[in-house]
């Protein structure tokens, strides 16, 4: 043994188990990350299919493809799948699991078994949510399950909210695991301010997961209990208060928006210095702004309810806080751009996706401020403007950050490099299609087209036609990207330890990393982006 010992990569090391068992009973954080990745991809593609069906229905005014009731179920399940199964777990569960211990110089997360349990809960919740497609009538409430309709509808809402409850539990356990990991497992010499910025983002995210998720958990449980026992917690005819439901729901679900976007921002902070070959500008500002977003994010939920009955002063305060939460986001964007300035930029696919993120997030963020302004919101509330806005943030932001992370860590995880030229082209197809798909929504929303209808007035036809056309380009881009990555997995050239020239610890170990990551735990003596 000694120096000649052959360490197996985590992809090969089955720990004495066979076949699929070696995967579904693993406690290796990288394998669990991949388990999440594969399952998440399947659910994401299902969500895409539902979205495409909606776009097809909306291609022309009148009924094209599906019944109105089917359309209601389509947007509900599209929302439930994309939010609860893809965007919320997305980056933390996949790339947090894979990269966090590597970035910290740790052998695994603090609670490896709990980590596996989170994945099982995720799968259980996912199966419960998807079962509503097959059994009973698919829910038709929208992913927000607003009472009292969610209490009265005959569709299978109970199963869907219980699924969301279980998924929330999975999310809590992941967050808990990451917080303890970051507190206790950093390599010797890695002080808080020598941590890579992705860990900071995950840290802030984990606190939101921990402190906000239980509130929606109990709220959804109340919906389920109300439906099963016929009691009146939120149904006004039984003495309940439906506005209270909205408050409770958004107390979680607005912070949840930051669960979705913060890890994405962390990914971008990781990439910009690597591909600009430059020390990150404003390390502490970026780190603290993650915490600031997490903190202020708790106090802005009311901006979802400007039109549903709230006192004037309350609306003004919520609007003000909404503007405040945009400040730390802007701090990040300025710091990224400042880092790029004067750097020797290497326009590889991960950076392209990162730049795509900045561009799209900028549109998403600024349209968010339009929604946050009281007077404007009264006009655009529940219109396609809102739909366009959050797709720019969720897909253009989190989605593109997810793809950036995928292209960034792909060679680390599989040890092989995809075809960079084709990956770049796939990015441009996706990026172009994205804007053709979603920008018309902002326009048609301003014109007054309401969301969540299967039909619309003739004057909205052209933007909807363009949007549907864009959805086909997006799907082509996605397929292109997936084919390039699968080809890379099968026939890619060996990537080597550090194909991008990163300085963080993940690039110092083998690709793919060995089980338990490092032969000897590294000792850290400086910050993560000290490009000379």
């Amino acid at each position: 043994m000694g120096e000649n010992v052959q360490h197996l990569s985590f992809l090969q090391d089955n720990g004495g188990k066979k076949g699929i068992l070696a995967w579904i009973t693993t406690t290796d954080h990288k394998r669990i990350g991949l388990l999440y990745f594969y399952s998440l991809t399947v659910f994401f593609l299902m969500g895409v299919v539902l979205g495409i069906l909606m776009r097809l229905e909306l291609m022309n005014p009148g009924k094209d493809l599906v019944e109105p009731q089917t359309y209601n179920s389509l947007f509900t399940l599209h929302g439930v799948i994309m939010i609860f199964l893809f965007v919320i777990p997305g980056i933390p569960a996949v790339f947090g699991n894979i990269a966090l211990p590597l970035l910290l110089g740790a052998r695994d997360v603090a609670f490896p078994k709990l980590n596996l349990l989170s994945w099982y809960l995720y799968i259980l919740g996912a199966l419960m949510a998807l079962s509503t497609l097959l059994f009973g009538n698919a829910p038709d409430t929208g992913w927000t399950f607003y009472a009292p309709y969610s209490v009265r509808t005959g569709t299978n809402v109970t199963m869907a909210v219980l699924a969301a409850f279980i998924l929330g539990f999975s999310s809590i356990l992941t967050g808990l695991n990451f917080i303890v990991t970051i507190h206790r497992m950093r390599a010797p010499g890695m002080t808080w301010f020598r941590m890579p910025l992705f860990s900071w983002a995950l840290y802030a995210t984990a606190w939101i997961q921990l402190l906000a998720t239980p509130v929606v958990g109990i709220t959804l449980l109340m919906i389920a209990v109300e439906r099963m026992l016929g009691i009146g917690l939120f149904d006004p005819s039984l003495g309940g208060d439906p506005i209270l439901y909205q408050h409770l729901f958004w107390i979680y679900s607005h912070p949840a928006v930051y669960i979705m976007i913060l890890p994405g921002m962390g990914v971008i902070s990781e990439m910009i210095p690597v591909f600009a070959r430059r020390r990150i500008f404003g390390y502490k500002a970026i780190a603290y702004s993650s915490l600031a977003i997490a903190f202020i994010g708790y106090f802005v939920w009311g901006h979802h309810m400007f039109t549903s009955g709230m006192s004037g002063p309350a609306r003004v305060i919520f609007s003000l806080l909404t503007f405040l939460v945009a400040v730390p986001s802007a701090i990040k964007v300025f710091n990224w751009v400042a880092t790029l300035y004067g750097g020797s930029i290497d326009l590889k696919p991960p950076l392209l996706y990162a730049l795509g993120f900045i561009f799209l997030f900028l549109i998403g963020g600024l349209t968010g401020l339009v929604n946050g302004a009281l007077a404007a919101d009264v006009h655009i509330h529940d219109t396609y403007f809102v739909v366009g806005h959050f797709h720019y943030v969720m897909f253009g932001g989190t989605g593109f950050a997810f793809f950036a992370a995928l292209h960034y860590w792909f060679p680390k995880v599989y040890g092989k490099m995809y075809n960079v030229k084709h990956a770049t082209r796939a990015f441009w197809v996706l990026f172009t299609g994205f804007n053709i798909l979603y920008f018309p929504m902002l326009v048609v929303g301003m014109m007054g087209m309401p969301r969540r209808y299967y039909d619309y007035l003739p004057q909205f036809h052209i933007p909807n036609l363009i949007s549907t056309f864009g959805s086909w380009i997006v799907v082509s881009g996605l397929i292109y990207m997936i084919v390039v990555l699968i080809q890379g997995y099968r026939k890619g050239t060996p990537a080597g330890k550090n194909p991008w020239g990163g300085l963080t610890l993940d690039w110092q170990t083998d690709s793919p990393p060995i089980t338990e990551n490092f032969v000897e735990l590294p000792i850290v003596t400086e910050g993560p982006y000290e490009y000379k």
Binding site: M1, G2, V5, H7, R107, D108, A110, F111, L114, I172, L176, N177, I179, V180, H183, R184, M185, L210, L211, A212, T213, P214, V215, G217, I218, T219, M222, V225, L229, G230, I231, G232, L233, L238, G239, G240, D241, L244, L248, I514, T515, E516, N517, F518, V519, E520
Partner: protein, 206 residues
């Protein structure tokens, strides 16, 4: 050759992390009940008289007995940790078993309390609950929801303590390694703590 360098030989033990994880989990439990407390306070604010009237229906004596039972059980849970620290395995085991016994007493009491309510027609969805004023019905709905969710936590806590008892027996928990017992007891204290709030909110405020 140093076997510590081989990843597979690496054993990681960090009691501090285990306890930290438990505390964070307890935060989430508090917030889970926090949602219910919020709903309770808002509906109480909206229907003060109905809530006061509803609270008079509850059996303060049974509630008080259960409070004493839970407080005692928290004490014995804490004592069991001290016992295991001092290496007194049998005493620790006895104290944990006594804690579980208290949990059972609590549940039996709860059973009689709920049973009586069911007999007189106060249960979710009953005709009586549909007939009485809405505010009062909300009180009973919340009563069942909150004490019911709490009872589930009592059961889970008792099961956790059951595992602790087993681990003390097998020696997995010993005077050198007792963080599991500490965490189990922490969970039990949470169950106790929630009840400390539920009791006055539901039974005492008239």
């Amino acid at each position: 050759m140093n076997t510590n360098n081989s990843p597979s030989a690496h054993v990681h033990r960090d009691d501090e992390a285990q306890k930290m994880g438990m505390w964070f989990f307890l935060f989430t439990e508090l917030l889970l009940f926090g949602g219910l407390f919020l709903v309770y306070s808002i509906y109480r604010f909206k229907n003060p008289d109905a809530f006061a009237h509803g609270a008079k229906e509850l059996n303060v004596v049974l509630g008080a007995i259960n409070t004493i039972v839970l407080l005692t059980s928290s004490l014995t849970a804490a004592l069991s940790i001290t016992a295991i620290q001092k290496g007194q395995k049998k005493l620790a085991l006895g104290l944990v078993l006594f804690t579980i016994f208290c949990a059972l007493i609590f549940l039996v009491n709860k059973y009689f309390e709920w049973g009586h309510k069911f007999e007189i027609g106060i249960y979710p969805g009953s005709d009586l609950l549909r007939a009485i004023p809405r505010g009062e019905a909300l009180f009973f709905v919340l009563y069942y929801f909150m004490t019911g969710l709490h009872a589930i936590h009592v059961i889970v806590g008792a099961i956790i303590l059951g595992f602790m008892a087993r681990y003390i027996q097998t020696g997995l928990i010993n005077s050198d390694y007792y963080v599991l017992l500490e965490n189990g007891a922490l969970y039990w204290h949470l169950v106790d703590l929630i009840w400390i709030f539920l009791f006055p909110l539901l039974y005492l405020i008239h």
